[in-house]
């Protein structure tokens, strides 16, 4: 239990760059802070080197020192305003006993997907300090390594998104198995979501306890649902998570962010779900999104990650377009509208960070 001790009473003044946390609370910052979803990842040669050393993606996730190492890699290269825990959204169902593994070139898989009523009824929320202890150790180690330079973001998948993988047994192009379950046996679907919601809430609170200074919930597959099904099977559980999160730690508010990819149509409902900020994919005009949510939440986003595969000039121009569309801050955290592509040239990320930081809103 030693790793947590140094964090108790960690003074607030030790965060040298708190623009990210400040913007999430819609308070003024000298510039628009920026971080990138999946910023520690395959587009960086140093990441590929560490991953090779770890042996596999999962071994990298489960080794706190290596997870810490890759978490810090993008911060050494780019002037980013936040770090995000290096991990995978499927650690929670893995800790539930489903047997996560990664088949080469096929993405995540579960050895024991949820298909039988008995297995569904036996599902239990894992103790985050037991089977997920390696995540908390990584959080604590990263906090020590960051030494108050920038805040650390913890994260989890949303209950619906985790359920998609748990029932499908892996990625899917149409989610027909999990949707068929939702439409034919809503009682079983809600049981999975209820257990997973408790698991996610405990998991995020344990990350906050271990040192995460903001948390984000990735609802990667909420946007594959109809509006009615989204409200019933995803948003209702996101609301419960928001209500159950630890709100303060180390004398500071711990801001929370929710991101439903493809959820632009439901923005007003998402903004009212209890999170401090809403992540946007790149299909929304962020200025129109801001007008729709008003003062309710901060917004995070939303450059098309494919722009980073264009030229540095195009990257800077499209970044300006997003900043201009949002208008004068506060309340904007710049990000991509989805995870960074493995094919991104790192010099384009440098061009992006520079363009965002030097951008000055003309009143």
């Amino acid at each position: 239990m030693a790793p947590l001790a140094p964090l108790r009473g960690f003074p607030v003044s030790r965060i040298k760059n708190d623009t990210f946390l400040t913007a999430l609370l819609r308070e003024p910052t000298p510039y628009t802070p920026i971080w990138l979803m999946r910023q520690a990842g395959r587009y960086l040669p140093e990441y590929r080197e560490t991953r090779q050393r770890a042996g596999s993606f999962l071994a990298l996730c489960k080794n706190p020192s290596l997870a810490c190492e890759v978490t810090l890699q993008p911060l050494a290269r780019f002037d980013l305003d936040a770090a995000i825990l290096f991990s995978d959204i499927l650690t929670v169902p893995d800790a539930m006993g489903l047997g996560l593994y990664f088949a080469e070139g096929e993405g995540p898989k579960f050895e024991r997907p949820l298909r039988e009523e008995r297995d569904i009824r036996n599902l239990a929320a894992p103790d985050p300090h037991a089977g997920l202890r390696y995540v908390m150790d990584a959080v604590a180690e990263i906090r020590r390594a960051l030494d108050g330079s920038v805040p650390l973001i913890g994260f989890s998948g949303s209950p619906w998104t985790l359920a998609c993988y748990m029932v499908e047994g892996g990625s899917s192009s149409d989610y027909r198995t999990v949707k068929a379950l939702a439409y034919t046996r809503p009682d079983l679907m809600h049981h999975i979501l209820d257990v997973t919601t408790r698991a996610v809430t405990d998991y995020l609170n344990a990350q906050i306890e271990a040192g995460a200074q903001a948390v984000m919930v990735f609802d990667s597959w909420g946007g594959t649902l109809s509006e009615a099904a989204y409200h019933e099977f995803s948003l209702a559980y996101l609301q419960r998570i928001a209500a159950g999160l630890t709100r303060e730690r180390e004398g500071r508010r711990v801001p929370s962010i929710v991101f439903t990819k493809g959820g632009g149509l439901w923005l007003e409902a998402i903004a009212a779900s209890g999170f401090d900020a809403v992540g946007l994919d790149w299909t929304l005009d962020i200025g129109r999104a801001r007008a729709r949510v008003g003062e309710r939440v901060a917004l995070q986003g939303n450059l098309d990650p494919a722009v980073l595969c264009a030229s540095p000039q195009a990257v800077a121009a499209e970044a300006r377009r997003v900043l201009e569309a949002f208008g004068p801050h506060p309340g904007h955290v710049f990000n991509l509208g989805h995870g960074i592509s493995q094919y991104t040239p790192p010099e384009n990320v440098a061009a992006l960070v520079e363009a965002v930081h030097r951008y000055a809103h003309t009143p």
Copy 2:
């Protein structure tokens, strides 16, 4: 040239069931008409048998008699209110010389994707009566076989969607090659889209001339763009197509439908683009969509195709939900929000068609 002759002066009264055409023009019908995107397809054993006989998917598309045969198969099983030409959206770039082929389990590919400026500058709109003659022959043969029972829909891919395949060389998970071209060399991108727009307009008008009684443009990948990029690279060209379509044939209006998958955020702009009807994917509540477009267009959609993998009871319940959300017709053509899944049990399609046809709006 003989196949076209019998259609000249084809009397309007010969369409026994014109509910589909009537609903597209927002005029009253005795019930809500229904057809299904990709209704002739792999979920039908008789389709799989014909495809096997043809040797390949492309051979099936290019043989007018076999294309006619599979077009009619779903109508023999289900009481559908329209037939749609069996073909592929990539016939146009194939006729442009890009060399379409289908790699087993990998989807469509082009032998000569557009990557070099010289190839892009040399791109030309094909004469639809030359390299695409087999499509016009299929349209004429299907019209004869339908014998005025239900209307026949012709279709094309949208310029942006065709350009995605032409530049990527096949399917893509992120469209980074075509988007990088659009962001770094918008001049070349607009040249591709300009030529393709002329090709699509000619192609659809040739289908109308050959006997198609309505036409639909599939903008399958428009929804992968940012709002600004969608307007610039997709919607602007859809507007040009709408303006260039033949409006009347055989003494009847030829209604046109546009479908941008993932375009729900931009519905008002799409509804103002000049088409008679807008296809909706399943993420929009169709009642809210109707309120947004008002009297401007008819709406087509929008059941989640994954519902068809659930039980017949769930299918009927979700179909009712869509019908109730739309409210009393006119102006609604029932459809899925995307193509039917190959894993759909045919009995669920029967349950869907029956549920839609027997549904009576209570005033």
